[in-house]
């Protein structure tokens, strides 16, 4: 069966520090991968998605970037965090066909 791993679960980072969040998927090949952000008590904002190795589509221009160095690995990065980058970051994978997304357990990022 397919599983998705996301870490760390929580993170507190100072303003101006770098960020790297990693997501890996097991049990499937060539998945569509996604990064969403959720502000406290709010909806899900699509940040990036990737349909293949090295391919990244950005939905919202901002202080973040994404990379997909391997088929089942998706990384979210920032060179310098802003206070507004705080939120709940969720990685997800989907086959783009019949079923919905499977989400990772998320990373709660607090920028202080």
């Amino acid at each position: 069966s397919q599983t998705i791993h996301q870490w760390p679960a929580t993170l507190v980072q100072p303003v101006g520090s770098p960020l790297s969040l990693e997501c890996t998927v097991e049990g499937t090949s060539n998945p569509n991968l996604y990064w969403y952000r959720q502000a406290a008590g709010r909806g899900l904002q699509l940040l990036f998605y990737s349909v293949g190795i090295g391919q990244i589509s950005s939905e919202v221009p901002q202080n973040l970037s994404a990379s997909r160095p391997q088929d089942r690995q998706f990384i979210l990065s920032s060179k310098k965090l802003l206070l507004s980058d705080s939120g709940f970051y969720l990685c997800a994978w989907g086959d783009g066909r019949t079923y919905g997304y499977t989400f990772g357990s998320g990373t709660r990022l607090t920028v202080v």
């Binding site: 709010r42 909806g43 899900l44 699509l46 998605y49 989907g94 783009g96 919905g100 357990s105």
Partner: protein, 111 residues
């Protein structure tokens, strides 16, 4: 973008009461998905509807897709405390690469 609008934003119910959340679009949808997010958790896919007028049931949950494929609803019969959480509708774009979520309806159930 082609957003989906959800109402209400919040709903407080007494345990045993029914609950309904609605999802509306100004354009015709090719599909609608529903997710549940427990407090502190991540969204979990519940169901996808694709046919006009489609109705699907999962135990106490009933999902409907409107005849015009511009709206959808999720109805919970006789709510339980385990139903607490945020319910999101979402639309997958035609190419299948992106899914756009509504703002969600947060359900509170008082025992």
């Amino acid at each position: 973008g082609q957003q989906v609008m959800q109402i209400p934003q919040y709903q407080h119910v007494q345990e045993g009461e029914d609950f309904t959340t609605y999802c509306n679009s100004s354009t015709t949808l090719s599909n609608i998905q529903w997710y549940k997010q427990r407090p502190g958790g991540h969204p979990v896919f519940l169901i996808q509807l694709v046919k006009s007028g489609e109705v699907k049931k999962q135990k106490r949950l009933t999902f409907q897709f409107g005849e015009a494929k511009k709206n959808s609803s999720l109805h919970i019969t006789a709510t339980q405390t385990t139903d607490v959480g945020t319910y999101f509708c979402a639309r997958r774009n035609t190419g299948g690469f992106k899914t756009i979520f509504g703002a969600g309806t947060r359900l509170f159930v008082k025992a």
